[in-house]
Symmetry: C2
Subunit: 117 residues, 2 copies
């Protein structure tokens, strides 16, 4: 009965500098530009900065979601990109969103998983 | 240099009835009650319903996030619970949140992954 496979979800932990790990506004700019470039549909978002300078964010898309949580005190962040294939095959968009964010945040990947959901 | 392990992320695909897959308000009630019960801190949320009756939602927590995306036309949803251990070990809270949601949504798990991030 269940033969629908929603899509690719990439999850990673990466390190980068405080310059990025404390800059929720800069992250939002990167995400918004990628959402526009890839013609994704944002339906809401939350960006929340902590007193230590880290931030946590989720962006809700009609195609699923993107999330990032940063810990500047540990020099790391976790990052997820998950797009469903409901109307289009978005696998390449997941990979593009992921790679370009890593590039723009000058991030070094510590661990990465890819789950076909 | 990096010795911080953020925490447990459980990802699942499940099936359940339209009664739940089309009820964003009912899902919000379950999530809100679990957030209160487990003393988690919500910093924002997005619930978006589609014209076909499905919905997509992300809840941003100081401890990371919870997400759900439903496809009533395919009788499935994908569901994530991810809580960091920054201030407390939240592993048991992840498991409790996950199991109780599955129970309350009368869901049948199709696939499940646990990632220690």
């Amino acid at each position: 009965m269940v033969n629908y496979s929603p899509g690719l979800h990439v999850l990673a932990t990466f390190s980068t500098s405080d310059l990025y790990l404390k800059d929720a506004g800069g992250c939002k700019k990167i995400f918004d530009e990628l959402i526009a470039e890839l013609d994704l549909q944002k339906v809401g978002e939350v960006y929340h900065s902590f007193t230590n300078g880290g931030f946590t964010a989720v962006v809700c898309l009609t195609e699923s979601h993107v999330s990032i949580h940063t810990w500047p005190e540990h020099n790391i962040a976790t990052f997820d990109v998950y797009l469903s294939n409901f109307q289009n095959n978005n696998t390449e968009k997941v990979n593009h969103f992921f790679k370009k964010t890593v590039l723009l945040l000058e991030a070094t990947i510590i661990s990465q998983q890819e789950i076909i959901r």
